[in-house]
């Protein structure tokens, strides 16, 4: 993996969910396949906000289904916040 943001995002998700990074294929469903519930999702969001100094609006995440969509969403937030 040569995308440092992506790697850090996946590290956070892996640490909080206790799921190995090897399971994070782009098309894996976050809720159904990884079993990430709303509480865990909020902890991931709060941790990413701190680590990247960004703000994530929960309402923008309603349609996100997969690991790939989530990573792209956070990466876009990081780019927006830090130019």
């Amino acid at each position: 993996m040569d995308n440092p943001s992506r790697e850090k995002i996946e590290s956070v998700v892996s640490r909080i969910s206790r799921i190995p990074k090897s399971e994070f294929a782009d098309d894996v469903l976050i809720r159904e396949e990884l079993g990430i519930d709303s509480l865990m999702a909020m902890e991931i969001v709060a941790t990413l906000e701190r680590e990247f100094s960004i703000e994530i609006d929960e309402t923008e995440m309603f349609d996100i289904q997969t690991v790939g969509e989530f990573s792209q969403f956070v990466e876009a937030r990081i780019r927006k916040s830090h130019g």
Binding site: R18, R31, E32, E33, G35, D37, S38, L39, M42, E43, V45, A46, T47, E49, R50, E55, D57, E58, T59
Partner: protein, 465 residues
Amino acid sequence: MSELTRRIEESLGRWGTNPVLTELGPRGEIVSVGPEDLQFRIRSMTTILRQGGIDRDTVVALFLSNSIDFVVVILALIYLRAVPVFAKKEYRFIELTTIFRDLSPGAVIAESSFVPMLSPFASGRGLLVREGTGRFTVVNPTSSTSKTSGISDQWVSINCTYRGTGTLVGSLALEKQYLHGAKVLQAGLQSTPGESLLYPLPLSHIFTLVGCLFTPLLYGLTGILATTIHPRVILSSFETLGVNHVTAVPEVYRLLLRSVKEGQKFSSLLTFVSGGSRLEIEEYDELSKAFSVEVLHGYGLTEFTPIARNSRGESRAGTVGRVCDGVEVKIANPDDHGRGEILVQSESMFGGYYNRPEETFLAIRDGWFHTGDLGHFDQDHLVFDWETKNTYKMNGVIVDLEEVRSAVLSATVARDARVIIEGYSIVALLETPLAVDIESEEMRVQEVLKHQIAAYKIPRKIRRA
């Protein structure tokens, strides 16, 4: 007018200038209603409900998200003496089949986004839909034949719960259960009118209904209904809204604890009320220190709300406090450490499981309700140890492991299955021949279960036994 609605009217009549309810949105946005506005909205809602054929003796299944509208629907139904069934939007085929078969609601009120899921079940019943704009539409009027006979004036609601037997049951919550619950929670909280209580919990739980909706309504506190558990939004609201009390489950408090910045001050906070699952002694201490609050942890069930709770000025870490006035607890067959099953007796207990006389008979023996939970007394404080029934508390929500096992068995080629908890995850162990590719079977079963049971119940891992 019932005693509960009379007491609500009285309380709203002397409310003062503070909001009765404030809705905290996911971006931190605020909507508030005062007493007159709330009463107007309840009256308008009763008109809509009546137009939809919902009235006294209608059993109404609710699939709504936290909002002021949800509160208005609940209160309007109670004013009409209809009986709300509190269901979860996460429920899928198995839970929905049980609800519509056993509780037989004559009408359904649902968010529009949930209607496709409900369509096979809602046929022939009244249907009111809450659109994204917050507008309620009568899709199908409730017919007069959908009224349920034999409903007692004492019934306020039917609350879904589990006993570890594999089937969802509807616990009949009586008026005295609500009134008593609010009274003893207020006695422990010792709040004064004009204070506020924030709750990031689903209104479908009885703990939320009694502790967060009715306790504030009856004792003059502004209820702040958080529609988010985003820690940044909630922590920020503590100061902007001058929050005095918070009621949540330990899992939410852990989230807040991990998100609070060192040295961050919350000048108005007084107490954190906690329940729904275990709160470890270290967490109690960390919360007290980080937020400068008194933590009031308690214990209750859908059938008794609450049984015991810590009170201000005398809370003790590791316990669920003193047994509430009006409730008796005894420990059955205690071991050498005084530990045994918690049995409960109270005038204000539930009215049985709706349409499930056998489950009711098995739960109440010799006048004592068998909780299926293990506990002991530490001096005069009760300590909850663990559940002995075949259930698991996940974020304050009960998962019936037998129900999960049955769902897994209906979806797999395996001869038998066991469902266990590993760490914080549900795991299914399948008895399958070695010829079966277990990884493919895991994916296939999880895919089937997505449509069968709530997502939070789907085993995270499925392995060979």
